[in-house]
Symmetry: C2
Subunit: 111 residues, 2 copies
């Protein structure tokens, strides 16, 4: 699984962590019957946190992942702190084989 | 749910986010049959990320939460990056009612 985070929102590290956790939990709950989830858990649930500089880039990556048939969870913040309600902050891609994820997110840098 | 993170390990923000997500996913998977999970999901799965300055304080908070009967997930890092293998990096407490969590973690500061 990768989680792609927008860096243009100037979120603090605690806020980022909560958003990434939200995405990861959403991805897992959406994949409970998916064999890819079991495989990912057996591997120690590897997660890589990547960054994009804008909402547009986040949308592009999410759309590319969906087009590739990968599970995608875009997180829209409730807006109680730091960012406006409804703002897309990050998205999880997976759980899925890393080779498939790399095809759509392999060029992104680590957060 | 709260996730309590050690600040003395000098983890980067991406590393912290991955550890917090690991704790949150672990907490959810351990609570699939717990009515507290359903209540927490209905509330929009609120997560608060808190900090402690040392391994000792992390252990104390985790022990206090366990003694209070709360679900606790301590995360030990696989050690591939940034910290030594087996290092306790953070712990999730919950999902559980916030009043119960506050009794053991209410004095901690936001990360």
């Amino acid at each position: 699984m990768v989680v792609v985070v927008r860096t243009d929102l100037d979120m603090g590290r605690g806020k980022i962590a909560a958003q990434v956790a939200h995405a990861a939990v959403g991805a897992v709950l959406s994949s409970l019957s998916d064999p890819a989830l079991a495989a990912w858990l057996r591997d120690g649930q590897p997660k890589v946190v990547l960054k994009v500089p804008s909402a547009e880039r986040l949308s592009q990556v999410a759309a590319a992942a969906e087009a590739a048939g990968l599970p995608v969870q875009v997180i829209h913040d409730a807006g109680r702190t730091q960012v406006e309600a409804g703002t897309a902050t990050c998205c999880a891609i997976g759980p899925a084989p890393i080779t498939a994820i790399d095809r759509v997110a392999g060029s992104l840098s680590l957060l």
